[in-house]
Symmetry: none
Subunit: 242 residues, 2 copies
């Protein structure tokens, strides 16, 4: 993959329902030069014969699309994950417009991904929890009815404005660690907390996990920082020095 391609955000469609909509999203992407589509659990499997005709020639995007069984897996290599939502739902993460998010993506090192939920329901709280920021299109408060391909095209369009503007980034500014390194840190900590009863009562376990994940996702720690924190955890697991 070329350096230019690595700067482009991956478009991640989570549990998309209709193949036709996947095709339309591909067409929307390619209009503005985006080529990397990732699919998480497409409802009707993949490849989907309805996608091709709707892509109106954007076949290359569909041919290269990759399929994942979880959102976490789909963004494992991404340093910057944005979750698109129509409205905020009590999530305490930064909320950016497509314009602001595109400016960020163009200026920061590391791969970016934009998450789009299923056609009807949008992203689950679980998926949003993986993102460091929310991407919301400011829309008519009395008529918000963007379909999947429209949401994709607005993001792709805004992104394309920055394509030629990419500044060489400061070398000493490391990108956030890939998502899988962050996940390693979080799992390590969870493994230490669980025996201490931190996640009890059981009914609160998932909410508690999400809260803690949110706190640790916010910083955008780079891989050196994540490594430092892994060292902290390992030290805490040790027996005290005599």
């Amino acid at each position: 993959m070329s350096a230019a391609d690595l700067r482009k955000p991956a478009i991640v469609l989570i549990r998309p329902q209709l193949g036709e909509n996947i095709g339309k999203a591909a067409r929307a992407m390619l209009n503005f030069g985006l080529t990397e589509m990732r699919l998480v659990e497409p409802r009707d499997g993949w490849p989907n014969p309805s996608a091709g005709p709707a892509a109106s020639g954007a076949d290359i995007v569909l041919e290269r699309a990759t399929v994942y069984s979880s959102t976490a897996e789909a963004v494992a290599d991404c340093a910057h994950v944005y979750a698109t939502t129509v409205r905020k739902r009590g999530v305490t993460k930064p909320v950016l417009t497509p314009e602001e998010a595109s400016r960020e993506m163009a200026s920061q090192p590391g791969r970016s991904a934009i998450l789009f939920g299923p056609e009807r329901s949008g992203l689950e709280t679980e998926d949003v929890a993986l993102a460091r920021a929310i991407l919301t299109v400011p829309i008519n408060p009395e008529f918000g009815s963007l379909n999947l391909a429209q949401a994709v095209i607005l993001c792709a369009y805004e992104w394309s404005k920055h394509e030629q503007l990419v500044q060489p980034t400061q070398e000493d500014l490391l990108p956030p660690a890939p998502q899988e390194e962050l996940d390693g840190l979080i799992s390590h900590l969870e493994g230490m907390l669980d025996p201490k009863g931190y996640y009890l009562p059981e009914t609160r376990r998932e909410a508690t996990r999400r809260t803690l994940r949110g706190v640790l996702t916010k910083p955008g720690w780079n891989h050196l920082e994540v490594r430092t924190l892994r060292g902290v955890l390992s030290a805490l697991e040790r027996e005290p020095r005599k």
Copy 2:
């Protein structure tokens, strides 16, 4: 018509073919607060029963749509007419992006109109001649395949940036905790790490402390987040549950 409505550009569809596409264009418009659609010689007449379902609830735009027998008549009251084309065709008119055109429309007095041609063929030279400027979406030179509704939504979206539609607000985003709360967290952690030998050798103690403080300062955690992390540390200090 209100003063606010008079500032909004009219969307002029010239010889549109499918009712479904007229409906989709209406939906695209209303998402970004545009309500005035003008139709010039719609192929299948007007009203068109296929338009309503495709509008997904943007019925008000279709109900108010007005029909004209020529482009000149449709824009007779407009001071600023923009003709959308995918590529410029030797026309000696200013060529603007949707962003530039929206900035103009927002700043100049007088009504504006944006012309869109038929689905397949685009605007005729005749129609373009009525416009003072060309509006072109900068698109992938190797794959330009915007459909009518997509072209409309990009123009409507850009225009809406100049209106005060709801911007995503961040009122529920708390400021970073006061420094003393962060210090409390850091001291708590240091108190746990020191007996484990984390700061050894002694000569590295200050550098190690600085590194860890840097990692924990970067996030700008708010006071709820700091409290969560204090809870994590307290849990780690506990004896495991039997």
